[in-house]
């Protein structure tokens, strides 16, 4: 599996690079890097849905926003510790995906896209409306509880701690997902992507496996949302907006869908683009739209997919 090796080396190299950069980068760049890592987690989860089982969901902002809110609300109201709050985030992703998934995954492609978009939009409306709970689009601020490691308490208000905390989760998520995708489940996912009817006739309950993929990507997306809220000490109804559903698709398309880690390239490019362009151009989203069109016309395999196909 030459291609798999390319992806693996890329991922390990990237993680090592990130570990080094943490100590080297100036604080502005470091903050940007933390965001990139969080989005990298989100993107990996989304790729399981899009790249591995060909389910193009436009509703993943639901998981991202829900994970953020689960984290913030459990800190605010349940006085949860940091890790507990993040666990609740992941749990919320699981619950939402497990409840909404069965409705969505048996829909055919176009219906799936639309319905996931509708569901996310409705939850966004609810979040905007239930201001007493969510703060609407003004949002909620929290003070982040310290990371209790038994022998020592670390505060995430220390930028370095925050950085390596997020990097830890990024690495763990990568290793867990990579393992799952190398296991039989991963092969079944790819089979379903390549030819769902064939997989069905080989004895696989395709809907059930699509649901598993959906749930995995929901849980990871929620984790990303929780980490984002923790890093910014803030979350708002905006996190459930359509923009956050479109971003993962763009990340995967640019970086390479079905590669798990190709999306990191997409994240890096888009984040850098946003960071620098939105500073001087108010209508940055206009350029975003144009960029999407350009990317789509150049390559649908994405950067990493393109590189890997050259390696044989």
């Amino acid at each position: 599996m030459q291609r798999e090796r390319v992806y693996r080396y890329f991922a390990l190299g990237a993680l090592v690079l990130l570990a080094i950069l943490g100590t080297v980068l100036p604080s502005g760049a470091r903050s940007l890097m933390i965001q990139i890592m969080i989005f990298g987690i989100f993107a990996m989860g989304y790729d399981v849905c899009l790249g591995y089982t060909a389910q193009c969901s436009l509703g993943h902002s639901l998981f991202f926003g829900a994970g953020a809110y689960a984290c913030v609300l459990s800190v605010m109201h349940l006085k949860a510790g940091l890790l507990t709050a993040l666990a609740i985030s992941v749990g919320s992703g699981f619950v939402l995906a497990a409840v909404l998934g069965p409705i969505c995954v048996r829909l055919s492609e176009a219906y799936f896209v639309i319905v996931t978009a509708i569901i996310a939009a409705v939850f966004h409306l609810l979040a905007m409306d239930l201001i007493w709970l969510t703060g609407g689009d003004d949002g909620l601020c929290i003070s982040v509880p310290p990371l209790k490691l038994g022998f020592v308490d670390l505060s995430l208000y220390q930028p370095l701690t925050n950085y390596y905390f997020v990097l830890f989760f990024m690495a763990v998520t990568y290793f867990v997902l990579a393992r799952i995708l190398r296991a039989p489940l991963g092969k079944i996912f790819v089979a379903i992507r390549e030819n769902p009817k064939r997989a069905l006739f080989l004895g696989y309950n395709v809907t059930r496996y699509k649901l598993i993929a959906f749930i995995i990507s929901g849980m990871v997306g929620a984790l990303a949302g929780g980490l984002y809220a923790v890093t910014l000490r803030y979350c708002s109804a905006d996190y459930m907006g359509f923009y956050w559903s479109v971003l993962p698709v763009v990340w995967c398309l640019i970086g390479g869908q079905g590669t798990l880690v190709g999306s990191w390239l997409g994240v890096a490019l888009m984040s850098l683009f946003q960071y620098y362009v939105s500073a001087w151009f108010t209508y940055y989203l206009l350029l975003f739209g144009v960029l999407v069109l350009i990317i789509l016309s150049v390559s649908r395999k994405g950067i990493l997919g393109f590189i890997a196909s050259k390696v044989r």
Partner: protein, 289 residues
């Protein structure tokens, strides 16, 4: 007539008229999907474009009705090249095309933001009379909108079911490959369908402008509702879309009397979920999605 009944009737009328406007938009959406297989995420923004164009054309032309006539032409001029040169290259890749329409959606919204501004504004009612129905006074413009919408829907029906070109379009909905094999100029059908669909949305926007506020993000809400309608009615089914639009909007209108607007919307959403659980293709949907 008792107070509550008058209110309900009023809301029902509102709902039906709004349903007719949504029907125009949803028909465009389902037509585009049915013939081209494209989920057009920018469709709601075409509605917004129609409204914004009306806003800009009013002072220029001095008449709402001239603006109403001009908007379809302008929309067609924009939509044609967009389909032919931006969307056509992705033909056969529905997911990619859909993301491309997302890109277009962002572009349209930002252009509107830059030119029209971020403040919601209102257009005055072009006609100023009231109609008295069962003791309830009803704004005349809205009835006019209903009349125009009905005329347009009838026109679309006649076009699709009574003209030769309409038959070509419907054949393409049934089976595009077969249509191409029979020598139908698929390219012209694609462009025409996209233009018709876009014009329907834009005209709906013009008609709706005096009723609701013109805002660069107004396409989002309406787009969401149109998608719900299209899903419930069944993608690709014209009759289903019409019925779903009228039913859902009337329902929302009536529910808004007892529930908050958001709750009413959530109720419509629940209806959609229930329909999907029973019929994953929508009530009348047939086409392979």
């Amino acid at each position: 007539m008792p107070e509550w009944a008058a209110t309900v009737l009023f809301l029902l009328m509102n709902g039906l008229i709004w349903g007719l406007i949504i029907a125009l938009i949803a028909l465009g959406l389902t037509l585009i999907f049915g013939v081209m297989g494209i989920v057009n995420m920018a469709h709601g923004d075409l509605y917004m474009v129609g409204a914004v164009l009306a806003f800009f054309l009013l002072p220029v032309t001095g008449s709402f009705w001239i603006a109403l006539a001009a908007v379809p032409i302008i929309t067609a001029v924009i939509a044609g090249p967009v389909e032919r040169f931006i969307l056509r290259p992705y033909e056969g890749h529905p997911a990619v095309t859909m993301i491309a329409t997302v890109g277009i959606s962002f572009i349209l919204q930002q252009i509107a933001l830059a030119t029209y501004g971020g403040i919601p504004k209102k257009i005055a009612d072009p006609v100023d009379f009231s109609f008295s129905l069962l003791g309830v006074s009803y704004p005349g413009y809205r009835l006019l909108v209903a009349g125009i919408a009905i005329l347009i829907i009838l026109g679309i029906y006649l076009f699709l079911y009574r003209t030769n070109y309409g038959i070509l379009i419907r054949a393409s909905i049934q089976d595009r490959q077969m249509a191409a094999a029979m020598g139908i100029n698929v390219s012209s059908v694609l462009v025409t369908t996209f233009i018709i669909g876009s014009v329907l949305a834009a005209v709906a926007g013009v008609l709706a402008a005096p009723i609701s506020q013109v805002f660069y993000l107004m396409g989002n809400d309406v787009g969401l509702l149109s998608f719900i309608v299209v899903i419930v009615g069944g993608l690709g089914s014209l009759g289903g879309t019409l019925i779903a639009a009228l039913a859902l909007c009337s329902l929302e209108g009536v529910l808004a009397s007892v529930l908050s607007p958001t709750q009413a919307k959530a109720a419509i959403f629940v209806v959609m979920i229930v329909v999907l659980m029973v019929r994953p293709r929508g009530l009348f949907g047939e086409r392979e999605g």
